[in-house]
Symmetry: D2
């Protein structure tokens, strides 16, 4: 059981990253900081004759990782009540690669399990809910199991270390993944 | 009364663009296709000593436009149940420019009015609701009035032309803006 | 095609009722004001050996109506950001009657189509969205098609008559139902 | 610091009640099972000349309790993706008593803190979110602090005892309340 951790933050060592690392500690996992990869926004060619064009960025490496891991852990700070822009661009490109016959993403996705970590201010546990719902619709659409989510309280560096419940839940997931 | 239309689509002449153009037709307006501008994702430096660094992209031109227009019309297709990645990067950068003392965005935003157009498939009128809620939280946060939204049905090119109610509402907004 | 209109308001001639009547005008329909019927809250006996007990209220007449109509139109004012209490009690009792072998509600529901009318203040078009989502989950659960919804602006008597768009949409539904 | 626990379930010793009791154990508190009180649905008279009429039910005792307690704990099973009907009727009547000059609910509410417990099936942690949002709008409207919420997994009797995280969170709240 291999875990692919996709970090959405544009800051190193932030709160969502802290929780994510705690969750995968001691497991067979790969961590990718999306903002440090080169990912182009999608160019929507779903309705053109020629279809999508190859893009010379890092996305195919991510496709490879998605295929070879069983669990996806998405960890993002709440930016303007949504996932970060780089993580959004990551998802948008699914539209391209789920249609790419060189890969088998459409079928692969149905076997994956998704976990979500969101961190933000005091009100994130309410105002982060539309993002949880969005994730839920996304995973439903591709047939991926949405196992669970954590909304942690943390804006300033290290702040999430005070959120006992988020740490507890992260620890429980970690325990489950280590079995 | 000047309208700034910000298009989120990565396709030319799509459904959200069609509605947006109908809405601003005959008014004093500017249309920007975000995906055609060069906008870097934010690099979160809110918690660093040095603060945000200047970015050599097109964002300052957009700041200028935001300052000189009264109404913002955000038009995006529903990509994975959210706004498009390029539009998300546009919002993320607000965190930088609302702190930039050369501009006065924080005060300016309180005087603006926001309108939102979302287009998507049959289920967008339900599964687009988290996005509407996200927009609502965003506008609340900056003190901008969220005037109204349209969720239009349109995925294939020109499809939204069949959505009579979306057209009707677009027409009403247009009438209001022309007065 | 017969329409069953279920009114949730506890006030006669309110805004949601006004829209609902406009929608069914000239069609084959039945209107029930839930608050004027005698409906007991559910007593949850799903996990008891004896199961649900008969209740001597008006509910079975409503079951009869649900079975003999094709379209359900739920019209409720937004009370505390939800449907009215009497309408909620109406739904809660589904848990009882979907298990009642004298009826065939479980199978019947899958053939029905649902429409929703909500009326409230200026912010209802945002703060009524959780209610729309709740309705959506309800209809999904029972396999009923959720055709569409209207969120009209109207609190004071007759106020919704100023909401041109709500009237327009009500008119479109009416036209569809009259065909 | 006195806690008023309002139970929404129509079943004795259910999962939401179990969590609620764990939360208030050893504190100065009052527990009311709403379904066991006599509460009439509201009759909306906001727009009549004569205003609301006195209702000969148990509501005034609840008003008294609301005035004399500092923290409100609302505990409800997820019935059809919302609070139970009896709890909804309880909230609907706020519209009446916040206008009743014999009481001072409007001012009192601003000093209270609210906690919410919801229990339901596996999907409650997603499909219970509109209810969390509804509670949030309710508390915002009356100026009450929405401190936190638990969505526990439990449908069959005693099932929530397996939801370690819900128990943990309940325990944390209890600790906080005992201080």
């Amino acid at each position: 059981m291999k875990i692919l951790t996709l970090l959405g933050s544009t800051r190193k060592n932030g709160n969502s990253e802290f929780l994510a690392k705690k969750i995968v500690e001691g497991t067979d996992h790969t961590i990718v900081s999306i903002a440090e990869t080169h990912i182009e926004p999608i160019t929507d060619k779903r309705h053109t004759e020629e279809g999508f064009s190859p893009v010379g960025d890092d996305y195919e490496e991510l496709v490879e990782l998605m295929q070879t891991h069983d669990i996806f852990l998405f960890a993002t700070p709440l930016y303007w009540y949504g996932m970060s822009g780089p993580m959004k661009n990551f998802f948008d490109r699914w539209s391209q690669y789920m249609r790419d016959e060189r890969f088998n993403l459409k079928e692969e996705f149905k076997k994956k399990k998704a976990y979500v970590v969101i961190t933000g201010g005091k009100d994130a546990k309410i105002k982060g809910l539309p993002l949880v719902q969005q994730f839920s619709y996304v995973f439903d659409f591709v047939g991926m199991e949405f196992e669970d989510y954590i909304i942690g309280k943390g804006v300033k560096p290290e702040e999430v270390k005070e959120d006992k419940l988020a740490l507890e839940k992260a620890g429980m997931w970690n325990e489950r993944f280590r079995r």
